[in-house]
Amino acid sequence: MENTTGRFGIFGGQYVPETVMNALTELEREFNAAIKDENFIKEYRYYLKEYSGRPTPLYFASNLTEKLGGAKVYLKREDLNHTGAHKINNVLGQVLLARRMGKKRVTAETGAGQHGVATATVAAMFGLECEIFMGREDIRRQALNVFRMRLLGAKVHSVDSGTGTLKDAVNEAIRDWVARVEDTFYVIGSAVGPHPYPTMVREFQKVIGEEAKAQILEKEGRLPDYVIACVGGGSNAIGIFHPFYHDKEVNLVGVEAGGFGLESTKHAAKMARGSIGVLHGMKTLVLQDEEGHIMPVHSISAGLDYPAVGPEHAYYKEIGRAQYVAVTDDEAKDAFIKLSRMEGIIPALESAHAVAYAIKLAPQLSKDKVVIVNLSGRGDKDVEIVTNLPEVML
């Protein structure tokens, strides 16, 4: 699915103030030139390898597989990236682009803090000024990442508006960009926002799927039956899905935050419960009320606590190329513990949603089936949130 118009079916577009329109056009032009430029790609790949440690392994989770008694479960270990999540793939791409464009200041929104940490990290390496916007509530629940960003030299702004979570951080980051568009590169952290961001973020994340495809072919001699990834804005999911787009036999499953359950009002399940609307510059599926006001959402994981989804996912859903399911807070916590205990891998709570769905799915499949779970990040940042679980209490 090539995208030159900024639309994925009816989804996408550029619903932003006039002030940044020329900047978006310039960004699109620079991005298109960069990804065709061998030197740029070489540099990007260099940093992916030498700085972030790619390729990440595709690990066969033998204990989990045995316990579940069905399909073979592989984990794409994005948690082993430098800074602990897939976010850095995209940040390296965008910050290299920012440098190419001569920008000295980079900004980012962050929910779980992983994107903020990745941006602060890469900005530190390249000597760029870095400012991060983070919701008040997320600053509280992801304190470890706030310390990391400050340690790396970034300025962290607390965003108090709305529910003080990811959506509000994006609003504030866009407002800042509108004010400082001439000297600032806004590094969006997910496959969301106005065109060309969703396409650009996907292009910088598709390395996940490209690697996973080659790795599974090497290990199993065939493509997987399922690829599962959690969906906040959708960057780790689109990164692993996109290279399998044309392989129709591969089922793509996005897992969104079911919070307290879809029958409650406390969830972030825009695929299951959203409707078409406009947020953060894109037309997509959004959780909104009857007058189009964005609804407060909830997830135990800050990175999935977002009321909209990248336009390419809305399109995948519409054409039936991917399927989207929801997993509750409790199921995610349970998967968090299970993966830690069985495989010695503590997943991010976001990624635990994908694991939770694999735990439900694998036993229903026969042993010759193959499932890949995108383990988008590691869970150090979340340990505090689960300290009241009986398994963790001293």
Binding site: P17, M21, G162, V178, A179, G277, L279, H280
Partner: protein
């Protein structure tokens, strides 16, 4: 063509005066007070009113109007209440009325339904701050169908885009004073003169400058280069800070008069 916006700019031109377009968020502090405030502003000399339709995520607004929006929504302000208020004002005044509304509000309400009801209520123009040229096609046609002006916005960063933005547009051109969101500014760094001269190259429509204008001095410095001044956050800020209704009305009256005097 007898859209009230056009007629007002024509009249002011003959009088050698500039327009004062006063912004207020509907439903802040409540819809009845908004209506009263609008009458006060008309009495004090405002030439047009821009009514902000409160939205949950006002991306183009600074903290002052964000808070006003939040207050209005907490009161349960709905689009139908705003339409009713406009209808009531229209029975008593021929002042041009514009809506400042975010695209999702219009989209979810139904673009055609919104324009039709706005027109019936007595609205003359629509401003959608997050609907650039590239996305405005359908909305542009439907505003025209109902005799409304979709007010085009240009910014100091619009180089190379102005011609297309103003093409076929009516009413006036909303010239955003500087980069950034709405909100009072101590000064405006943009070279207003050359910026507005560039806009004039492409259109004979009146130009109104907004974003950050908060004092008679600022209005005086800008007015020679344009046909109108838009004031928002400075008005909303008075409403926010007033401790009694009387104080609010008096301060609004004084403020509008102080600006109108220099135009």
């Amino acid at each position: 063509m007898n859209n009230r916006i056009d007629m007002t700019f024509e009249r002011l031109k003959k009088e050698g005066k500039k327009a004062l377009i006063a912004y207020i968020t509907a439903g802040d502090p409540d819809i009845e007070t908004t209506a009263e405030l609008i009458f006060k502003m008309i009495e004090a000399g405002a030439d047009a009113v821009e009514i902000g339709v409160p939205y949950s995520d006002p991306l183009a607004d600074g903290p002052v109007i964000q808070r006003a929006s939040a207050r209005a929504l907490r009161n349960g302000t709905k689009i139908k209440d705003i339409m009713k208020m406009v209808e009531m004002i229209r029975k008593n005044s021929q002042i041009p009325i514009l809506y400042l509304v975010y695209y999702n509000s219009v989209f979810i309400y139904g673009v055609e339904r919104f324009m039709k009801e706005a027109y019936s209520a007595g609205v003359d123009g629509i401003i959608i701050p997050d609907l650039p040229l590239e996305e405005r096609g359908e909305v542009f046609e439907l505003t025209k169908k109902y005799g409304l002006h979709l007010i085009p916005l240009v910014a100091p960063t619009s180089h190379g885009r102005i011609k297309k933005i103003v093409e076929n547009a009516g009413g006036f051109v909303y010239c955003v004073s500087s980069t950034g969101v709405t909100g009072e500014r101590e000064r405006i760094e943009t070279d207003i003169k050359s910026y507005l001269e560039e806009v004039s190259k492409y259109t004979g429509l009146p130009k109104a400058v907004g974003f950050g204008i908060s004092s008679p001095e600022m209005a005086r410095n800008i007015k020679d280069y344009c046909e109108g001044i838009i004031i928002g956050s400075a008005i909303v800020s008075i409403i926010e800070k007033a401790s009694t209704k009387e104080e609010m009305f008096e301060k609004i009256d004084n403020f509008i008069r102080s600006i109108k005097k220099v135009l």
